[in-house]
Amino acid sequence: MSARGTLLSLQGIARHYQVGAEVVRALEGVSFDVAHGEWVAVVGQSGSGKSTLMNILGCLDTPTAGTYLVNGRDVRGLLDHELADLRNREIGFVFQTFQLLARASALANVELPLVYRGVPRAERRARAEEALRAVGLADRVRHRPNELSGGQRQRVAIARALVGQPSLLLADEPTGNLDSATGEEIVRLFGELHARGHTILLVTHEPRIAARCPRAIRLMDGHVVADGPGREVALLGAPQAVTA
């Protein structure tokens, strides 16, 4: 537990899906805390429950059982619009497929979370420009996603995640659709953000990236099987990472 205080707290989180007659236990008894300012990787193979965990952490989904606190607030029992507001204020999403709005400029994309917060237009614009400058895209504000490279698109997405100054940056395979050099740039950008004090939770299947994080959590079949320094956890189930 960090001296800087707990941001996320998960106690016995379970998530079950009903698929036909069968109950799929995507997550079972998941418990861990994340302190302010931490950079945590969540690793695991596909089907391990990473995405389900990510959805719950992002308040897009609610657990079947267990307690999930964000900044001390229990998300269980929150109404849909309260969850929407919570996502808006506390969480910045970065997706594997960038998920930018194709018809909107970089600036308009980055402004979006502030629109849903009711920030006045001028302030919105200024803050969005500032966020784009922070990710090195000051000269691309008017460009549309299809006029940007993959790396630039992901930077726009990161700027969009940061613009509302959320407590948590939640990245789901942010380098999955990028070549390794561009992926490396993005990981370096996360490093810088971490150094500036942002709390980052990064879901990845690449041990190489998890190894760069101070802390990593490994999921397997819906359970936490390892939680420790990134380098150790990354190496655990993935010997190929050593040779990579």
């Binding site: 959805n55 992002g58 897009l60 989904d61 849909d80 619009h81 929407a84 507001d85 996502r87 808006n88 204020r89 999403f93 997706f95 998920q99 930018l100 709005l101 018809r103 909107a104 979006l112 979370p113 629109v115 849903y116 917060r117 009711g118 920030v119 006045p120 237009r121 919105r124 969009r160 509302g164």
Partner: protein, 415 residues
């Protein structure tokens, strides 16, 4: 305050999104709005025609005199089967006129009116069937019809049967084409061969229910009776003071029953005709027309609305991921709902605006091509726009509801 600002920001964003979405699919947008366009065009055009009818009808009905009662044997516009009842009535004649002039306090003016078709000519020019009226000097005051140039028959002329005539505008046009009015006065015309001196020209009245009201000449009643016979059917125009037509009618009923010796308990054997009767028939007619316009409008709006619903469902489907992203970034369900509602309302209102423009053009065309003063009122435009936007809202609500209730997780994963 904060929530109001948020709502405003979301509204602006929704408008921006919908406009860019529509601009991104121009052809589809155009096709979608087609139904609404046709509907609104039809309604605006029909309403414009009705308004035009109203204007021209109201203008021509004025020529019947707002405060005038016409004492007649026949009921105007009578379409019921009691023809015999009227047929067997005693004719209205001079005794009735004299009784009214003698006894009525409410009557401002009273004039006999008898009419027949006759040939009117001037030199080479011959008009085969002109409505020739036999009347008195009281005619303008009793009917509210004005003299445009010169004067009406003087009292002496009408009493003595002097060969003076006042021409209706059509007769003037046909017998004196291009002749200045001052030169028409004093000229001679022949009515079934007899010479008359033109003393005045009536104001132009136009048409009433398709009948030309200016194809007439007015001569003194004694002369008329001499020429066409004294037993011709007659009616009496009686003018009341403004607002006292009802009182006049009551008074005249008494006077006429007495002079016509109608036994107590028996029905009147005469009729009062008024311009309002035309108005009533006309209003019934336009009511039916409005009904048709509303029916056509509703049907096309429903058809157009279904088109909009269809395209909005496609739009929601196509933008599933966008919806997921917006939800992840903090858009509430209500925000998504509003976004798609606004989009469908905007599509529909665009169609409505286009339809209004086309309807206006049609109205102009009708106004140019026909004597109808087809008029588009601001209220018709507002109605067209309002109804189309409402259609968008109604038919967009189900797609918008579906959009708002998408599961964000599913929506984000959607390929």
């Amino acid at each position: 305050m904060k929530s109001a600002r948020r709502a405003l920001a979301e509204l602006q964003e929704s408008l921006r999104i919908s406009l860019s979405a529509l601009a991104g699919n121009r052809l589809r947008t155009a096709l979608t709005t087609l139904g609404i366009v046709i509907g609104v065009t039809t309604v605006i055009a029909i309403v414009a025609i009705i308004q035009g009818l109203n204007t021209s009808f109201a203008a021509s009905i004025q020529t019947l005199g707002a405060h005038t009662l016409f004492v007649d044997k026949w009921k105007w516009l009578n379409v019921t089967g009691d023809w015999w009842k009227y047929r067997n009535r005693k004719a209205i004649g001079l005794p009735e006129l004299h009784a009214i002039v003698r006894e009525s306090r409410e009557a401002v003016a009273a004039a006999p009116m008898s009419v027949t078709l006759a040939a009117v000519g001037r030199g080479e020019r011959q008009l085969g069937s002109v409505r020739v009226y036999g009347t008195s000097s009281q005619y303008p005051a009793a009917t509210g019809r004005g003299v445009g140039f010169g004067r009406f028959l003087a009292e002496q002329e009408s009493d003595m049967g002097a060969p003076s005539v006042v021409l209706g505008a059509d007769v003037q046009d046909n017998l004196f084409p291009g002749v200045p009015p001052e030169q028409v006065l004093g000229a001679r015309v022949r009515i079934v061969g007899r010479p008359f001196k033109v003393v005045g020209l009536m104001e132009r009245r136009g048409k009433l229910l398709g009948t030309a009201m200016d194809n007439n000449v007015l001569i003194p009643l004694p002369l008329y009776s001499e020429m066409f016979g004294a037993k011709r059917p007659m009616s009496i125009a009686v003018a009341a003071a403004p607002g006292r037509v009802g009182d006049l009618e009551n008074e005249l009923t008494g006077i006429l029953r007495k002079v016509r010796r109608v036994p107590p308990g028996k029905d009147d054997d005469f009729t009062f005709n008024r311009q309002e009767q035309f108005l009533k028939v006309y209003q019934g007619l336009t009511k039916a027309l409005y009904g048709v316009a509303i029916g056509v409008g509703l049907i096309t709006l429903v058809v157009g609305g279904i088109g909009i619903m269809n395209i909005m469902l496609v739009s929601v489907h196509e933008r599933t991921r966008e919806i997921g992203v917006r939800r992840a970034l903090g858009a509430r369900r209500s925000t998504i709902l509003a976004q798609f509602l606004i989009e469908s309302a905007v599509v529909a209102a665009l169609g409505g605006a286009l339809g209004t423009g086309l309807g206006l053009a049609f109205a102009q065309l009708i106004a140019l091509a026909t004597p109808l003063a087809a008029a588009v009122t601001p209220s018709a435009v507002a109605l067209g726009l309002g109804f189309s936007a409402l259609t968008g809202l109604i038919f967009g609500s189900w797609p918008a509801w579906r959009a708002a209730n998408l599961d964000p997780v599913e929506a984000l994963r959607y390929e």
